[in-house]
């Protein structure tokens, strides 16, 4: 099941590399980036899992609005690669990428608690953080 998951999100990796990462590489002074989709689509979401940590890196971006593949992509976004970020608006396509969560965290409410905790310890210097999660994926665990 995990292999299926990885295969399914591959196109999003390409999109992340070819579009989102390239935009930040190319526009060296970009301060605000906003991706608005009328329909949330699984192949145009940002997915940073398994990509090098200098992917989607910026020292100027302060405002980001984007759709991500999983909740843990929020955590990747907040791992220091976007140094100046003060506003983050994120819509997560799914709750978790199961391959990235430790095997023993099978209890779903614990996963939620763990992810929210991980998010909160990273955002203390933020002005605004909005996270929208598609909770229906959450019951799988």
């Amino acid at each position: 099941m995990r292999n299926d998951n990885v295969k399914r999100i591959d196109p999003t990796k390409n999109y992340t590399r070819n579009v989102y990462a390239r935009i930040l590489d190319f526009f060296k002074n970009l301060k605000r980036l906003s991706i608005n989709q009328a329909f949330i689509s699984s192949h145009r979401v940002l997915s940073l899992h398994d990509l090098p940590s200098d992917t989607f890196f910026s020292s100027t971006l302060t405002h980001l609005c984007i759709n991500v593949a999983n909740f843990d992509d929020c955590l990747y976004l907040l791992d220091g690669r976007l140094k100046q970020l003060t506003t983050l608006i994120v819509r997560a396509f799914a709750m978790v990428n199961y391959s990235s969560i430790a095997q023993n965290m099978v209890n779903s409410s614990f996963i939620l608690f763990y992810l929210v905790y991980e998010l909160l310890v990273r955002v203390f210097y933020f002005i605004k953080v909005y996270v929208f999660i598609n909770i229906s994926f959450y019951n799988i665990g």
Partner: protein, 139 residues
């Protein structure tokens, strides 16, 4: 009761500006720049008519037509290129518009239905861009 004989062009510059500001910038430039009227020609070169240019049709019938686009790329954009701060574009016309002139003051790009295959490399004055917005209307 006598009808007033005042024509549009008898109005003061200030009044004309107030009227023109109610219109879409693209329409103002397309209709009044480089026509045989020196006064209108000067008026519509005011920065306010070229700082935000929206080339995405809102009438949802078709994108900007060929002839209009030609006039913008050949005639209009090279005249007002220094004033443009924000472009609202879609794939079909994006490349021509961005290649038509240098835009030293362009800081904001809003792109509709951007496609992965479109190379970003032709974006001129890319170092000035500080705000990008993408809209996707399809799945």
């Amino acid at each position: 009761m006598s009808r007033s004989n005042v024509h549009l062009l008898d109005l003061s510059d200030e009044i004309l500006l107030i009227i023109l500001k109610k219109l879409d910038n693209i329409d103002v430039l397309y209709s009044l720049l480089n026509i045989n009227n020196e006064r209108l020609n000067n008026l519509v070169q005011e920065k306010t008519f070229s700082n935000i240019l929206n080339f995405v049709s809102t009438d949802d019938i078709s994108s900007i037509d060929r002839c209009k686009l030609d006039r913008f790329c050949i005639d209009i954009l090279p005249k007002i290129h220094n004033n443009v701060k924000c472009f609202i574009l879609e794939p079909v016309s994006m490349e021509r518009i961005l290649r038509a002139a240098d835009y030293p003051n362009l800081t904001e790009l809003r792109l509709f239905n951007f496609k992965e295959e479109i190379a970003l490399s032709y974006l001129i004055s890319k170092h000035n861009i500080d705000y990008m917005m993408f809209y996707y209307s399809f799945f």
